[in-house]
């Protein structure tokens, strides 16, 4: 019975991919032709993909940290990130820095936005855990999941409301629902040229700064979880909550800490996306959130290194799809990847390989 179901599932998936292929422009001879004509644009897309992927990875970490510790897919996480981008936009607007503002003013605005966005998202995430998830911790697994969807709706509508507050925040623009332009505050000095490399590839300090900040956040999180007392308590709680309690670990505090960290990362990602893509919109929580969630699943949900790897892979694949297939179909491809992993390798690329012994 089970085997039949699996076989049918596989067939459906393969059929969908075959169908999606030609419709979505998966025409290999044309693609290879384009790459041969302009290898630089391939490198260019890889770079863009890596930077975007690093941001996606930071959001993916929020999904994976929370899943690791309470086995909940926090559907509200993408929307939390969106609120972070709105907070960043609001702060930047309050500082009155526009495109091409002085470096000192930009730096001050960006650092303030980082601080406030990370604090807002960390705080909201902790409150969400406390009031929407913790009361359901001993309920059936479906209950917190539905609660998470509810929180997601609340955040989306909060974003829509916030986006409409143009009388308070003129930077929000005329229409609450339409994309808002985010000032281009990062300097654009051509890094390759400065290094004396002649190539038809744009890699500027803007890319570099976003990439470096993302990598610093990821390395910082990894070191925290791997080597600090609280980080180890987080891992212990994730691996066996009952045992963690017996060790005298306050697991409620550790779970709250996990939401705090995941939220702060989402807030930072909100700022980075604004600075990098120069546009934010209230539906971003879904579109970018989906990529981040797929990245987390691709790497093996619950696995921190996996989320980082998955983020970069999804970023690169999205960039390649944008360039060589069609940007309209990129989300469909991301969904297809998600389905394929869930069907063929639910543990993800770096799924846990140490079996628990009974």
């Amino acid at each position: 019975m089970k085997r039949w179901q699996n076989a049918i599932l596989y067939l459906v998936v393969i059929y969908l991919i075959l169908l999606l292929g030609p419709v979505a422009g998966l025409d290999l001879p044309r693609i290879f032709g384009e790459i041969a004509r302009s290898p630089a644009s391939l490198v260019q897309q890889l770079l863009v993909g890596i930077v975007n992927g690093a941001i996606i990875a930071i959001i993916a970490l929020g999904y994976t940290l929370v899943y690791g510790i309470i086995e909940l897919i926090n559907f509200a996480h993408g929307d939390l990130f969106m609120l972070g981008s709105f907070m960043s936009l609001t702060v930047v607007g309050a500082f009155g820095v526009g495109d091409g503002a002085s470096p000192a003013a930009s730096l001050l605005a960006v650092l303030s936005a980082l601080l406030l966005s990370a604090s807002l998202c960390a705080g909201l995430n902790v409150l969400t855990e406390r009031y929407a998830y913790r009361p359901l911790r001993n309920a059936s697994r479906l209950a917190p999941l539905i609660s998470a969807i509810g929180v997601s709706f609340i955040f989306i509508n909060l974003g829509l409301f916030w986006g409409g507050l143009r009388s308070f925040f003129p930077i929000m623009g005329a229409n609450a629902a339409s994309p808002k332009s985010f000032p281009d505050l990062l300097p654009r000095v051509d890094v390759l040229q400065a290094l004396g490399i002649e190539a038809n590839i744009a890699f500027t300090t803007k890319d570099l700064i976003v990439l470096v900040v993302a990598v610093v956040l990821m390395v910082g999180l990894h070191l925290f979880v791997q080597y600090t007392r609280l980080g180890k308590a987080m891992r212990a709680t994730a691996q066996n909550r009952e045992a963690a309690k017996i060790m005298g670990i306050n697991v409620n505090q550790i779970i709250a800490l996990t939401f705090l960290i995941g939220g702060a990362l989402a807030g930072a990602a909100g700022l980075l996306v604004g600075l990098y893509n120069n546009t934010v919109v209230f539906t971003m929580g879904f579109t970018v959130g989906l990529r981040a969630f797929t990245a987390a699943v691709l790497g093996g949900i619950g696995n921190i290194i996996g989320a980082m790897l998955g983020g970069v892979l999804i970023g690169v694949l999205s960039a390649l799809s944008d360039q060589y297939l069609s940007s309209r179909w990129t989300n469909a491809w991301v969904f297809a990847i998600l389905v394929v992993i869930l069907v063929f390798r639910p543990g993800g690329l770096l799924g846990e390989n140490v079996q628990e012994k009974v």
């Binding site: 308590a233 891992r235 212990a236 309690k245 017996i246 846990e352 079996q355 628990e356 012994k357």
Partner: protein, 237 residues
């Protein structure tokens, strides 16, 4: 001096009345064993002592201090640690990290270092496995790690829940001899066992638990010669 005293403890799982007025005492320096067949409520007693379950009625005193309303963190800090049923090793943490988690309630890094050395002397096998993941250890090694981890809290009362479960006879003998050493080095122990024969060789006194109530108590010698114990727990006819 009385280290731990339970008086008339009633603990429930929802509507299931698991402990029905259990009372027991552990004196400083003793090994006390709690015997009983499967489902008698032994694990429930240990979980109630550590604050993982709340008694609906009754009192628990540790050195005269009431434990019923304290959090597990506070109870561990007061000096009660446990090697739980099923060992509950952290499978993706190394042996070293598992030991560090055992010392989570402490801040004295020098003392923690000294105690790591001490438990590795007690369990040399763990030293060989120190950077291996907990989940890759054999059952016996995991049991050693569970006991070692509990010792890392430097407990004044060590709770052991069925340390012999699922182990080969030779390993059982070894574990019990280490339990005796731990006690000789000054740690008071409350030992839960189904293996009454072994438990009574290391314990000074024992209690017999049946469906949530203490039905018998006495020195190990008394219990070993008791008719009921011989029949029900020592497998004699």
């Amino acid at each position: 001096m009385t280290l731990l005293e339970l008086r008339d403890i009633h603990t429930y799982y929802g509507n299931i009345h698991a402990l029905k007025g259990a009372s027991l005492r552990v004196e400083q320096g003793e090994v006390v064993t709690l015997l009983g067949s499967n489902g008698a409520g032994k694990t429930t007693i240990l979980r109630t002592i550590q604050g993982l379950l709340r008694p609906r009625q009754g009192s628990i005193r540790f050195e005269g201090r009431a434990l019923e309303s304290l959090s597990t963190e506070a109870i561990v800090r007061l000096g009660i640690s446990q090697s739980p049923e099923g060992r509950l090793i952290f499978p993706r943490m190394t042996v070293q990290e598992n030991l560090e988690m055992g010392a989570f309630s402490r801040r004295d890094s020098l003392g923690i270092k000294a105690d790591t050395e001490r438990v590795l002397m007690l369990f040399p096998r763990l030293r060989e496995r120190i950077s291996q993941k907990g989940g890759t250890l054999s059952g016996g090694e995991q049991q050693m790690l569970a006991i070692a981890r509990a010792l890392m809290a430097r407990p004044r009362l060590l709770l052991l829940d069925e340390p012999s479960m699922g182990l080969a006879p030779m390993l059982v003998t070894q574990i019990f001899s280490i339990i005796r050493d731990i006690n000789t080095q000054g740690t008071t122990i409350l030992l839960v066992e189904q293996n009454a024969r072994m438990a009574l060789t290391v314990a000074h006194r024992g209690y017999v638990l049946q469906t949530g109530q203490i039905v018998l108590t006495g020195t190990s010698k008394d219990l070993q010669s008791n008719e009921t114990v011989r029949k029900a727990y020592l497998g004699e006819t």
